[in-house]
Symmetry: C2
Subunit: 113 residues, 2 copies
Amino acid sequence: MERTRQTDRLFFALSDATRRDIVTQTLDRERSVSELGRLYPISLTAVQKHVEVLVGAGLVSKHRRGREQLVRGEAEQLRRAHHLLDELEALWRSRLVRFEHVLIEHAGRPKEK
Amino acid sequence: MERTRQTDRLFFALSDATRRDIVTQTLDRERSVSELGRLYPISLTAVQKHVEVLVGAGLVSKHRRGREQLVRGEAEQLRRAHHLLDELEALWRSRLVRFEHVLIEHAGRPKEK
DNA sequence: GTATTCTACAACCATATGGTGGTAGATACG
DNA sequence: CGTATCTACCACCATATGGTTGTAGAATAC
């Protein structure tokens, strides 16, 4: 159930274009919050909030260097999102397999009108 | 930009546990809205709203059969979500590759103190 | 026919979200 | 030192979200 909330946060964090871009921008090299702020036409406070959402989802991490706060994209968590989708698909597949199994069972018996 | 909004909707739709479960429940066989309503401890109206969000994201489709509205999970769109994550990861990889390239360039020169 | 079921839709409410501006504390710069 | 920069935090606002109840219309069941 805690895991569920984490999944919620992960997908929610990915549901905003600015946040997705922040992840992209910070995957190759760390960027300070104010540096990120210059990339978008919104206030620095707004960017800070987006970063906080991403931190909560584990998609980026923050750590201080002097007066600035460096943001780094966490590729691991991206893979986790991937894995979660795999699980959904796997769930689907297992259900489909069961469904086909039922079909086969039925096919084994003479069809009734 | 329209594509971006669609991506927003897709991830947002996945950011709620009830909605994810609805997708799971409707992937193997169609279920009516009221049938889904019995699965969760919330009002039928709330379930209807969740279904609408999923329809907007393309994760399920709805079609009438008599008085009931059948909901079917769309595995294709799940795969699209998968693909979008792949793109994010690819973006990350290409950036990482560039970064490593820079490292190699630097390694080619004598280190300065 | 009447009654029941399934759905849609409207109104409403509490909270969350995404944005703003302002203030204040650290840190770096000249 | 003083000043500029970076960040955190607070209050505020508009809108979205997730939930409720209630009403009404269609299709089915009896």
